[in-house]
């Protein structure tokens, strides 16, 4: 009997896996509300930050685009460089695709000035304006981290003085968060990049270029 149940499980799991492989749609993440019988999905609120080229970056910057979000600071002694390395992989893959953008928020507003962000971008080899490295009001940056299911706070006890998650977050053109991964992990990031391709197909009806 037990053996039977075991095989049933395997079969069900196997079928479920197949179904997922065939036509997977990314879920809309976050707690949803039902208002008057309509489901309301959480959306990324309005924001306004300044990027490495002193340009204003708002929701309008990403209108009609999907974008990848993370939180970092330049003098981060721990996970940031690994997340950045995986960010560079994403950048390299999509830098010629204007439908995809990257938005990296510095959580060290004191040190990571526009000039410092510019230098940082240059050293990473980021030459196109598709990857925005932004600074802004400290509260606004820490506040919006919540909407991206990320942690960003000051913590004098933490290495470098800040606590933050190394997540990469994928946002669709309707301001919905659709996927995320541990940006310190190369394999997780590979999976995440497949999700980006999937979202491109869903939202633009065409396969990812290249």
């Amino acid at each position: 009997m037990i053996k039977h149940i075991f095989w049933m499980f395997l079969l069900v799991a196997g079928l479920a896996a197949c179904g997922g492989e065939e036509k997977r749609t990314l879920p809309i993440l976050g707690e949803r509300d039902v208002v008057n019988g309509d489901t309301i999905y959480p959306t990324v609120p309005d924001f306004a930050f300044i990027n490495q080229d002193s340009q204003l970056v708002t929701n309008a910057t990403f209108a009609g685009k999907i974008y990848v979000v993370d939180f970092f600071f330049i003098h981060c002694p721990t996970i940031c460089p690994k997340v950045k390395a995986n960010g560079v992989r994403i950048y390299e893959k999509y830098k010629n695709d204007p439908r995809v953008a990257i938005l990296s928020h510095s959580i060290d507003v004191r040190n990571d000035t526009v000039a410092a962000l510019k230098r940082h971008a240059d050293k990473l080899g980021v030459g196109t304006p598709q990857w925005h490295m932004v600074t802004g009001e400290e509260d606004a940056i820490y506040g919006i981290a919540d909407n991206y299911f990320s942690v960003a706070t000051k913590n004098p006890e933490a290495p470098g003085g800040f606590d933050h998650s190394g997540r990469l977050i994928l946002v669709d053109k309707n301001r919905h968060v659709r996927s995320f991964c541990d940006g310190t992990d190369a394999e997780e990031t590979s999976r995440f990049m497949k999700d980006i391709d999937l979202l491109i197909e869903e939202q633009f009806g065409a396969k990812a270029s290249k």
């Binding site: 460089p81 690994k82 940082h120 990473l124 080899g125």
Partner: protein, 130 residues
Amino acid sequence: MRPYLLFVFVAIFALAGCEQSPYRDGEALYKAQCANCHMDDGRGLGALMPPLAGADYLKKERAQLPCILMFGLADTIVVNGQTYGEKMPGVPTLTAVEITNILNYVNNAWGNQNGVFTLEEVRKSLETCK
């Protein structure tokens, strides 16, 4: 039956172990203390983090390496022709044994063939740190 199985397992593990780097302690320490910046494959990151894989710096500045690991480096340096100027924090809690382990891993991983550090050599270098 059981003890026999156990033996097979141990043998398999031992064989699997052979395939890995001979500097297992150094590798574990490297992953914990250094890989965030220099990456698991030692390639570094753009013009921010210098590489360790194939880095000429390891050979040229061999005597400095123990001090760099322990006290960090805030200098403008050239590695394989590329200039780097970010700050590396040291790990002052490392012991001389741990530094020896890390250096032996780094200097013999990813195709590096820079020979072995002895504990003695590392201790001597550490005495010269500024």
